[in-house]
Symmetry: C2
Subunit: 565 residues, 2 copies
C-alpha cells in the first residue's frame, strides 16, 4: 500500500492578523516539507483566524485575505498544503479550504454545512458550497471538507468516499466546551466506519474573546480506531504516516458526476520514520483549567497587554482567577490589590495575603473607608431618611471598580474581573463595581465548579496554592455587617442545579419543579435570571466552558416580559 505522510499543523492564529497568520502557516509548511510530509493540513479559516465576525463584511479585509492566501500558496513546493481562508466568488463569500501545491492554488473547496446556532453565525457571512472535489496524489485519492461538513451522515464525506477517497481531511475551528471532545470523537468514529475511510481531523488551538479552540486533532482509521490524538490546548505539528489503498475507479456512477478529480503532482521521496505520540486524554477538570489558562493568556496577549490586575478579596472567585492568571502569564505579570472596607473581616485580609504569598505575586492594599465616607457625606441630602441597603453596598463595590480602573489606566495593566456564572445568572454582582474589567475569566464557571477547579489546582500542584481557609469559609460579598451569600441565595449546590436546568437546558418551571425543588425558591431564581439580563449585556467577555455561556451562546432580549411562573 502507498504511504501518505500527513502533517497536522495545529496552529494558533490571531483574528485579523493576516500577516502573522500567513507567516505562521508558511513556517509550518516549511517544517512539514523538511520532515518529508506529502500533505500538510491547517485549521478552518487559518488565514483570517476564527471567528473573524464582521471583518468579513469589509471588502478590503476579504481582498487582503486573498492576497495572504496567494502568498502562502507561493511558498509551497513539493508539499500539498491545505488551509482555510475566506473565498469570494461572484459576489458571494465562502468558508473555503485552499489546496496549494507547486507555488500555486490548485483548487478550493467551499464549506457546505454552515453552522448558525449556539456561538456560530456563519450564515451571516457565507454562502453554501455545492462542489465535492477529490484529489489524486500519486496513487491515493482523498477528499477535503470543513468542520460542520463531517457532522452529516449523508454530507460531503459520504460523496467523497463514494467517489474513491480513502482519506478525508476535515479542517476545523471547533471551540471547546465541556464534553465536546468526546462528542467529536464519537461522530468521527461513526463517520469513518460508515464510509470505511480514514479521517484526519485538524482543529485550531488558541483563545479568541469568549472562545477557546482546544486542538486535540485526530486521525481515525476506517474501523473507527483512533490512531493519533494530538494534545489539547497546545500549538504543535504532528506527523502521521498513513498506509492508504491504491485508488481504484469508483463503482458509483452518480458519485463521480457529483465530484471532480484534481491531480496533484509530487515526486516520491525516501521517508525516514518519525514517531507520532498519541496523547492520552486529560480529565475534565484539567481540560477546564487548561481552557481557562489558554483563554486568559491569549486574550491578554492578543489584545496587546502583558500584565494584569486583580482585586483580591480573600474570596474563592478572585483567588481562582489569580491562580489561573499566574499559570497563564507568570507570577511577575500578575498584581493583586486588596481593597478592605469597614465590613472586611480580618480573615479576608490575611487570606488574600496568604494567597498572594502562595502564588508568589505582588499584593498592594488600598483602604476604601475614607472614600466611602466622602460618598456618604456627598449623598447626605439625597439619602436623608432612607434605609441603608443595596445602594450603599454598591457604592463600595463601585469605589473598588474605580480604584482598580485608575490603576489599570495609569499603568496599562488589564483588569481581570472575577465573577462566576452563578453570580452572573442571578445578578449577584455590582455593575460598574466588581463587574468592572476587560476580561471575565470564570464567567462561565458555576460556583460549584469554581470549588472543584480550586481543589483540582491544589491537587495538581500537590500544595495549597489556594489556602484552605478560602476553600472552607462561607462565601460573602462583605458589603454589610456579617453578610453571607446564603442570606439572599439558596445553597450553591441547589442554585447551580436549578440554573443548569433553566439556562443550559432551557427547561420551563414545570419541568424544573419535577425534581422536587421548592417552588417559591425556584420562582425567585428564575425572576432574578430574567431581570438581570441588562447587567450581563454590559459585562466583560469571558471564556466559554459550558454548553451555553452568557454571551455568544445565549442571546436574550432585555425588554422581555415573558414570565411564565
Amino acid at each position: 500500500m502507498p504511504t501518505l505522510r500527513l502533517a497536522i499543523a495545529q496552529i494558533n492564529p490571531t483574528v485579523g492578523d493576516l500577516e502573522q497568520n500567513s507567516n505562521l502557516i508558511i513556517e509550518y509548511i516549511e517544517k512539514a516539507e523538511t520532515l518529508g510530509a506529502d500533505v500538510v493540513a491547517f485549521p478552518e479559516l487559518a488565514v483570517t483566524g476564527y471567528p473573524p465576525e464582521d471583518l468579513l463584511l469589509k471588502p478590503h479585509f476579504v481582498s487582503d485575505n486573498v492576497s495572504a492566501t496567494q502568498k502562502i500558496a507561493e511558498s509551497t513546493g513539493q508539499i500539498t498544503a491545505i488551509f482555510g481562508f475566506a473565498e469570494p466568488i461572484e459576489g458571494k463569500l465562502y468558508n473555503s479550504a485552499a489546496v496549494a501545491n507547486n507555488h500555486k492554488i490548485v483548487n478550493t473547496y467551499q464549506k457546505v454545512h454552515l453552522p448558525n446556532y449556539g456561538v456560530f453565525d456563519e450564515k451571516r457571512y457565507f454562502a453554501e458550497g455545492s462542489n465535492f472535489p477529490v484529489y489524486d496524489l500519486n496513487e491515493v485519492r482523498f477528499g477535503i471538507n470543513v468542520c460542520e461538513d463531517i457532522w452529516f451522515p449523508s454530507g460531503p464525506t459520504n460523496i467523497q468516499s463514494n467517489n474513491g477517497s480513502s482519506l478525508i481531511i476535515n479542517i476545523n475551528g471547533s471551540p471547546f466546551s465541556l464534553g465536546k471532545r468526546e462528542e467529536r470523537e464519537k461522530v468521527l468514529i461513526e463517520r469513518s466506519r460508515d464510509n470505511a475511510v480514514f479521517i484526519a481531523y485538524i482543529n485550531m488551538v488558541g483563545g479568541q474573546d469568549e472562545l477557546v479552540f482546544d486542538g486535540g486533532s485526530l486521525v481515525v482509521a476506517p474501523n473507527g480506531n483512533i490512531l493519533m490524538r494530538a494534545d489539547q490546548f497546545k500549538e504543535n505539528l504532528y506527523i502521521y504516516d498513513l498506509q492508504l489503498p491504491k485508488y481504484q475507479k469508483s463503482t458509483d456512477p452518480e458519485a463521480s458526476t457529483r465530484s471532480k478529480n484534481i491531480s496533484l503532482t509530487q515526486n516520491k521521496k525516501e521517508l525516514k520514520s518519525i514517531p507520532c505520540p498519541t496523547t492520552k486524554t486529560v480529565d475534565p477538570n484539567e481540560e477546564i483549567f487548561q481552557a481557562l489558562v489558554l483563554g486568559t493568556r491569549d486574550y491578554v496577549k492578543k489584545c496587546g497587554f502583558s500584565k494584569v490586575l486583580i482585586a483580591l478579596s480573600g474570596g474563592i472567585d478572585s483567588s481562582l482567577v489569580a491562580a489561573i492568571a499566574v499559570e497563564a502569564l507568570g507570577p511577575e505579570n500578575v498584581v493583586g490589590i486588596s481593597l478592605p472596607s469597614r465590613f472586611s473581616s480580618s480573615g479576608s485580609k490575611t487570606d488574600a495575603k496568604d494567597l498572594a504569598n502562595n502564588l508568589n505575586i505582588k499584593i498592594d492594599s488600598i483602604d476604601i473607608e475614607e472614600i466611602f465616607q466622602a460618598f456618604e457625606e456627598s449623598l447626605t441630602n439625597q439619602f436623608n431618611g432612607t434605609k441603608s441597603g443595596v445602594a450603599e453596598e454598591n457604592i463600595q463595590s463601585r469605589i473598588r471598580g474605580n480604584l482598580m480602573m485608575a490603576l489599570s489606566n495609569k499603568f496599562g495593566f488589564l483588569l481581570l474581573t472575577t465573577g462566576n456564572k452563578s453570580e452572573m445568572a442571578v445578578g449577584y454582582a455590582t455593575i460598574y463595581g466588581d463587574m468592572a474589567g476587560g476580561f471575565s475569566v470564570i464567567k462561565d464557571l458555576p460556583k460549584m465548579m469554581v470549588y472543584e477547579i480550586c481543589h483540582h489546582i491544589n491537587e495538581k500542584y500537590g500544595t495549597d496554592r489556594i489556602p484552605d481557609a478560602i476553600l472552607t469559609k462561607p462565601p460573602s460579598a462583605e458589603l454589610r455587617s456579617d453578610q453571607k451569600d446564603s442570606d439572599s441565595l439558596p445553597e450553591y449546590e441547589i442554585l447551580d442545579a436549578i440554573l443548569e436546568k433553566y439556562i443550559e437546558q432551557d427547561l420551563g418551571i414545570e419541568e424544573i419543579l419535577k425534581d422536587g425543588f421548592e417552588a417559591n425558591m425556584v420562582i425567585q431564581i428564575l425572576k432574578l435570571v430574567d431581570l438581570n439580563e441588562y447587567k450581563r449585556r454590559q459585562s466583560a467577555p469571558g471564556i466559554k466552558i459550558t454548553s451555553k455561556n452568557f454571551g455568544r451562546d445565549r442571546r436574550m432580549p432585555i425588554s422581555n416580559k415573558y414570565r411564565p411562573y
Copy 2:
C-alpha cells in the same frame, strides 16, 4: 367590483408578553369587526413581539405562543384575522402568519426569505417555508407573505399573483433607520407594478431594546400609487376599502400547482363608508426625533421603570437626552443631576440649570470635589511620581457614574447615559463613568446629527428648549483645565465624515483618503475605532438610527489585529 374592507392593525406588542399581546390583538380584531372589516392584518410575530431572540429556543415559550395563537383564533367570528406567530412543524420552527376565521386557524403561511444580516438573525431560529397558498374571500383572491418575502422580485408575491391574487397582504417587523421608509416604498411600488397587484404593507410600531419599529403601514395600488400611508411611530387601526377584481381562474398552469387555495367563508354586509386619512411623510429630523422618543419611552416602560435620571453637564449631549426623555415620559418623570468638579466652568453649571428650567424638570447638584480628593489621597502611594493624565480624568467620570447609580439604586429610577456615536466610535467616553447607565439614548447619533436634532427641537417648539449657549460653546469633557474636545479630536464635521466611511460604508483607508483627508489624522481615527471595541462591548444598548449601529448591526471581534494602515 367587489369591495374588501381591510383593517390594518399597526400595533405595539411587547417581546415575551404573550398574554398582553394576545389581548391587544383580540381587542383590535373586535374593533375591526365592529367597523365591518372583512380582513384585519397584524404585524409579523405579533404574538411574541419582535425580535424574540433566544426565547424561541425555549420549547415552553414556543408552546405558550401556540396556545396564545389559538386563543386569538377563537376570538375571530366573521372577520378573517392575519397575524404573525412562531409555528412549530415537525421539529422545525417557522416565522408564520396565521389566517384565522370563524373561531379557528384556517391556514398558516411560512416565511420563505429569512433575513440573516444587519440586525437580523432569523436563520438562527427559523426554517424556510416553501408553500404559497392563496385565499378566496367571497369573490376575491388574495395572498399573504411575511416581511423580507416581498423584497424578492421572483418571490412569493410573484407566485401568488400568478395564481390569481389581486391583493398581497405583507406583514412586517421592519425596524427604522434613516431613509428606510423611502427604500420600502420604492420596493413596494416596484413589486405592485410588476405583478399588477394591490399590496397592503402592515408594519409593527414600538421600541424593543436597540430597535424602533416605525409603523408607516401602506396600501399600494397595482399602478404603484400609494393609496394610504399610516402614521409613523404611532399605534393605531386603519380602515381601507379596496375595490378588487372578481377572481378569474389563473392562466398560468405552473403557478396553480405551486399554490393552494383556501376558501374563507364570510357573509356580505352593508358597509358604511369610513374615511381613511393618508398621512403626509415627515422630514428626516422629525423621524429621528420621534424614533428617539418612542425608543426611549418603550425601553423605560417595557423594562418596568417610570422615571429616569440624567447627569446634566451643561453640554449638548446630555441636554438632547433630557429633551428626548421629557418628550417621551413627561417632565415630572425626568430628574437631572449636576455633578460639578474643580474643572467645571461656571457657564456649564448655569447652562444645565437653564436647560432644566426650559424643560421644566427638577435638577439637583452634587459636588464631586471632596470625593475626588479622597481618591487622590488614597492613591498617593501608587500614583507617586506619575504625571496626571487620563487615569485622573477617568476617576472623576467614574465618581459621577457611581453617584448616579447610587441614586438609581436608591430610588429605582433608570439612569440614561448620554454619549453620542462619534464618541462611542473613538472611545472618547469613560467606561463605568459617563458610559454607566441602562439605556444609551443617542448612541447611534453622530455629533453633527446631535446638533441638527437640537436645532430641530428648538424650531419645532418655536422656543429655545435647549439654550443657545449650549448650542454654541465648544464641546468639552471638562475633566482637566481648559480641556476642549478639539484638543484630541479633529473637528466633528471631519470626524463624522471619516467615521461614516469607515463604519457605515466599511471602506478601507485607501478609499477614505481619496476624499483628501489628512492621512495621519485618518490613521489616528481608525486606530481609535479599532482599539475601542472593548468599551463598546460593555456599553448600554441604544436606539438604532443609522444604517449601521454599534450593537446588533456591527459585530466586531475584540481581539483583532487587523490594522491595514
